[in-house]
Symmetry: C2
Subunit: 349 residues, 2 copies
DNA sequence: TTATTTTATGCAAACGATTGTGGCATCCAA
DNA sequence: TTGGATGCCACAATCGTTTGCATAAAATAA
């Protein structure tokens, strides 16, 4: 059987509490060198491992954090997960994982589940249909860090990227390349990131005086299929856009499917900027111009925020951390300005 | 504060044990309808949630399983993770996650850690430098399922895909397309999957009487960089291959980088088959011909095996489950037979 | 020597749930 | 009226650790 404190204590001829104290390494406690070494020896001999379950129960501290994301198979979130797991391990924390599939009820059930299993803190990319349950957590002063998405109306810790600026920069880049009719394809606009991106998109439209047409905007889900259908619809518009700003890489793949089905080529017929970079982006049909989020850094920042929050009993001032994104200019955007110039230089007919 | 059994009991004027029994819904126990309804009402009013930590401690059952993979940010493993997480949730299990980064010591530490935290079972994609610790688990009859990789010498549950056949089929396909000099680029050959693939490769080489040259084989890691360097080396050979069979998608991306740096084009100058399909594979520079693993099914199978294993106290006969892979023929392989034919039909000079 | 401090350790309660055992009513049968 | 059966519930132990408090022995001071 697995040895317990009691087993070690019996063999060493001391009380379990003594063993506990010695093994905890409380230096300042008065323990004779003799018993100390004896206990260490016996613990080693028996290969004693403290029962963390009992320990967690007694201490009300599990050394475990929860990580809840919409979809762990999404490269963005699996990158975050990896980063968080590595940080956690360093600080002797374990991470338990949950997928919500963008389902609000599932998120709530999952949080309650993890809570009753005793996590010390939670990192969450919320679904954002509702926020009451998150507010409750805050009120209870439960260590919580939101990641990727946060609530403007809630005072929480959060690590987010500057989606508004990112989208604005993308539009700015497209505008400079001569695009005037730009489509915006995304998941659901109640999601924080999408809302901010849309804001950035709109700001860009206004700033550069581009075509403002609600038909160019589509948001109906995060799947490959939804990206496919949105794109098909937008491409069949009487006046279809010359460029697309696309959020989410499954959506992007769906969009490409639609584009190639229509025998269009990128960037000659249509330009593309993808909102998330991932491995392989440079090697797509055309090297994809994308916006990069500093995934590793975001995970680290989230864990560190959480760690500090867990360490201090008192209320910690909440901090929303905004990280900058990067526009990776590759080859999926055509410079219409140059093209127009060329076309005008050699007038037809 | 969070209400406990005791709180509910006091309010209901009964003993905690009674509350426990009622809330467990043991129908056959003699409990009066009056106390039963009263207890339910009060539990609901207080929003009583059983403390799963205490429960787990008492019952020695945490309703938690461990999932340890080399790298959760690898799409193959994150797909597996997602599938397993979904199955787990359905059966009221939670999954805790670990990355080994192909580091054997880290794997061992992680297993011990999860064990002392009380997981009910473990799904593991092992590093495979050593197997002693896994043998120990088996001897202790601990519920364990290996995934993606297993040990020929160990009797364990496992869900693996038929890598040998997959590689053989790929080589067969390349051979039929007229390729005679085929490179094999992979991670580390001590890994089960890679070993089997290499076996399939060799079998193919023999069967179709292709060029058997150890210089065409390279295995030095799972990273983008290692793929890059391996490919560079192989492409600079005096007699460089006409096709490459590549294991692992980070490696594949590295290979493409090397190929394009050399200004070679796919498939005209060099053909490619990738060993793992992932979202976007169809939309690469050239639609990638890949081997697909049934990720979702593998995850489900692994969970089900584990679940059965956890349910039965007695020793369950171990089963290794082998799933078939699929060769997705897209556009990254050139038919040299046709090309040669064409070349011969129109002799130059 | 006695009083006092220090050193080293034991004792027991506690965390929150589960479960075997046992006991007090009540009821029915003989 | 007594016996046993049955319905309903309480009691207490238990899981493995931790920790405040008590205490005995040893060391030091008076």
């Amino acid at each position: 059987m697995i040895p317990t404190l009691k087993d070690v204590a019996e063999r060493a001829g001391v009380h379990p509490s003594t063993v506990s104290r010695v093994l905890q390494g409380k230096e300042n406690l008065p323990i004779s060198e003799k018993t100390r070494t004896s206990i260490f020896a016996i613990a080693k001999e028996l290969n004693y491992q403290p029962n963390q379950l009992a320990r967690a129960f007694r201490l009300k501290k599990t050394q475990t954090i929860g990580l809840i994301v919409p979809d762990i198979s999404n490269p963005f979130f699996s990158g975050i997960a990896r980063s968080i797991e590595i940080c956690s391990r360093r600080k002797d924390y374990t991470v338990v994982l949950g997928n919500t599939d963008e389902n609000q009820d599932r998120e709530i059930r999952m949080i309650n589940n993890l809570l009753s299993r005793g996590i010390d803190g939670l990192i969450l990319a919320p679904v954002q249909d509702r926020s009451g349950h998150i507010k409750d957590l805050c009120n209870r002063n439960f260590p919580l860090v939101l990641i990727d998405r946060c609530f403007d109306e809630l005072e929480t810790n959060a690590v987010i990227s500057d989606n508004e600026e990112a989208a604005f920069n993308a539009i700015s880049y497209l505008a400079q390349a001569g695009h005037r009719r730009i489509g915006f394809i995304s998941g659901r606009k109640n999601i924080y990131t999408i809302r901010k991106r849309f804001l950035g998109y709109q700001k860009g439209i206004k700033t550069f005086d581009l075509v403002d047409d609600s038909e160019l905007v589509s948001d109906n889900g995060f799947t490959l299929e939804s990206g496919y259908h949105s794109t098909r619809k937008i491409l069949s518009l009487p006046k279809s856009p010359t460029a697309l700003l696309i959020s989410g890489n499954k959506i992007t793949v769906g969009a490409m499917k639609a584009i190639f089905e229509k025998k269009l080529s990128i960037p000659d017929d249509i330009s593309l900027i993808g909102f998330t970079d991932f491995i392989g982006s440079p090697y797509w049909v055309v090297p994809m111009t994308t916006i990069t989020h500093p995934v590793k850094e975001m995970g680290e920042a989230a864990f560190n925020l959480l760690f500090n929050n867990m360490a201090t009993k008192e209320t910690v001032p909440h901090s929303k951390m905004m990280v900058a994104t990067k526009l990776n200019i590759r080859g999926s955007v055509k410079n219409l300005a140059l093209a127009d110039f060329a076309a005008n230089s050699f007038p037809q007919g």
